[in-house]
């Protein structure tokens, strides 16, 4: 209750594992409703890129919250690297700090901070808005600023909750490439929540589908990179995933 920026009391160092994300038997329920997460198991190897799909309200954000240490683990066991970065579903920028200050928040970069922020803002296409107040950003701009804030940290484990939802096709492509680039360079573990099956197939090593609180589909994506939509296996994987999501790929 009383600690800012301190992990929940029940976080202890895990010696048996070196940087992987492990979730075992995680159950989460709100008040006395049915469990949102129900004895869920998930492992993400270091450097692995996992896409998390699932119906609206299936518990994706809840899982991310638990993994970021914001919710207590009451049933089950969770272990993850210490250096994480999270892009939440909402941008969560501090409205009283200019965009560039938000980017390097908590970074002890000294004078270089401003420059570093400028660079990464340039990368997400917000170079011209660095001095703006967050409340004046458009929906997509805030989402990109939140992304920039996560990327600048180069974490061991990156969690992204629908980070491209408010972006137009072109900007979305650019941002996907940016995340892919960071991942390639840095080989961090990534958990990407997305509703876009194509996005999952383009970026991830593995796509998992959350349903009724459990991982019902765990689909490896053995495509070479760079990936292309017209790869014949792409269409196949696509229909498997859409099927798992309850959409029949006939229209």
């Amino acid at each position: 209750m009383n600690a800012i920026s301190q992990p929940p009391a029940n976080i202890i160092p895990a010696e048996h594992n070196s940087g992987a994300v492990t979730v075992q038997g995680l159950t989460r329920r709100f008040s006395n409703g049915p469990p949102v997460l129900d004895r869920l198991d998930l492992t993400i190897a270091p450097g692995e890129f996992v896409a998390l799909l699932g119906r609206s309200g299936s518990g994706k954000s809840t899982l991310l919250r638990t993994l970021s240490g914001l919710d207590p683990v009451t049933e089950g066991h969770v272990s993850r690297p210490r250096d994480v970065a999270v892009v939440f579903q909402e941008s969560r920028l501090l409205p009283w700090k200019r965009v560039w200050q938000n980017i390097i928040l908590g970074q002890t970069g000294g004078k270089a901070g401003r420059e570093r922020a400028g660079e990464v803002l340039e990368e997400v296409g917000l170079g011209h808005r660095g001095d703006a107040w967050p409340l004046t950003l458009s929906g997509g701009e805030s989402q990109r600023a939140a992304l920039a804030r996560a990327l600048v940290r180069e974490p061991a484990f990156l969690m992204l909750d629908e980070p491209f939802a408010a972006l137009d096709a072109l900007t979305r492509l650019r941002m996907q490439q940016l995340v892919a680039g960071l991942w390639t360079r840095h080989r961090c573990a990534v958990l990407l929540v997305t509703h876009d099956v194509d996005e999952a197939l383009l970026l991830a090593d593995r796509a998992v589908v959350l349903e009724s609180g459990r991982i019902r589909t765990d689909l490896p994506i053995p495509l070479d990179r760079p990936r292309r939509h017209d790869d014949p296996r792409f269409g196949h994987l696509r229909s498997i995933l859409l099927d798992a999501l309850g959409v029949h790929d006939d229209d």
């Binding site: 209750m1 009383n2 600690a3 800012i4 920026s5 301190q6 992990p7 929940p8 009391a9 029940n10 976080i11 202890i12 160092p13 895990a14 010696e15 594992n17 070196s18 940087g19 008040s31 270091p46 638990t66 240490g69 919710d71 207590p72 683990v73 009451t74 049933e75 089950g76 066991h77 969770v78 272990s79 993850r80 690297p81 210490r82 250096d83 061991a156």
Partner: protein, 284 residues
């Protein structure tokens, strides 16, 4: 993340955190009790200081002495009568203050012209020492109950006004815009958006107002009063009856606790919409 954790994991290539389930037991009553632990501890220290002679009981009565004085005051009816009279005055004054404060805050918060008319005079009056205003009140309202109740009302209007006004000004403009596009009427917007949105601020204002209403009685009940808690205090002060003063202080303290508890209950009920983990205390 804490340094300790880092130290423990220094031998692994990548520091890792593991979250294990923790038992979530929380006795509901226990928390409420815990809040009142520190006042009780302070009382105990006071009593001990008096008993051991660290604090001269000639200058400051000990809690047990205060309780015995209090008991005799209850017994001979002084205390209940005075409390009752003051309660009536406080409640009447507070009611006026609530109506006036909320009304003025709405006027100032909802229209710029309203703010121009209302805000400056209130900001000026807010700082006037009531003691100096008492003769004016006698002039205008005589020496009966009216000036007493109005003094209470005057003092407690300001916190209600100031906090609610601020609360209205800091309501998320997005919600107000939404109300506008939905075509909500002025009344509906006030009822459904503005007052609920500014409620936490209003509650702080009311909290202050309750405290101030009792403080005002100390001033108001100097005017032709032969009963009331403020009268009792001033009387004791004039006759240097420190034990009665301390009984009075005790009652004021108790009042603080009770009003605090009431506002907390109100908060818990009225702010039930905040997700459970954020409601009590601070979530961080």
């Amino acid at each position: 993340m804490s340094e300790t954790t880092l130290r423990h994991t220094v031998h692994t290539a990548r520091p890792v955190l593991t979250m294990k389930p923790h038992a979530k037991f929380q006795l509901r009553g226990w928390h409420t009790l815990r809040r009142y632990l520190s006042p009780v501890v302070l009382l105990l220290i006071w009593q001990i200081a008096c008993s051991t002679g660290l604090l001269s009981t000639r200058l400051v009565a000990s809690p047990t002495q205060i309780i015995s004085t209090g008991w005799s005051l209850i017994h001979d009816g002084t205390l209940p009568v005075n409390l009752g009279v003051s309660l009536l005055r406080a409640v009447s004054g507070l009611s006026i203050a609530l109506v006036a404060g909320i009304g003025l805050a709405l006027i100032a918060g909802l229209s710029r012209t309203g703010e121009d008319i209302v805000d400056a005079p209130l900001q000026i009056m807010r700082t006037l020492p009531v003691l100096a205003l008492v003769p004016l009140f006698i002039l205008w309202f005589g020496i009966g109950e009216t000036p007493k109740i109005l003094l209470v009302a005057l003092g407690s209007t300001f916190p209600v006004y100031l906090n609610l006004h601020k609360g209205i000004r800091s309501i998320d403009p997005k919600l107000l815009e939404m109300a506008r596009t939905l075509g909500l009427s002025r009344g509906q917007t006030i009822r459904d958006v503005i007052l609920p949105g500014a409620l936490p601020d209003l509650l702080i204002g009311v909290r202050f107002a309750v405290g101030i209403s009792w403080l005002m009685l100390v001033v108001a009940e100097q005017v032709n009063a032969d009963s009331g808690i403020g009268h009792m205090m001033m009387d004791a002060e004039d006759f240097l009856r420190t034990d009665i003063i301390l009984v009075g202080l005790f009652i004021y303290g108790l009042l603080g606790l009770v009003s605090d508890q009431i506002v907390r209950m109100l908060e818990n009920r009225l702010l039930a919409w905040r997700p459970a983990q954020h409601r009590k205390g601070q979530p961080v």
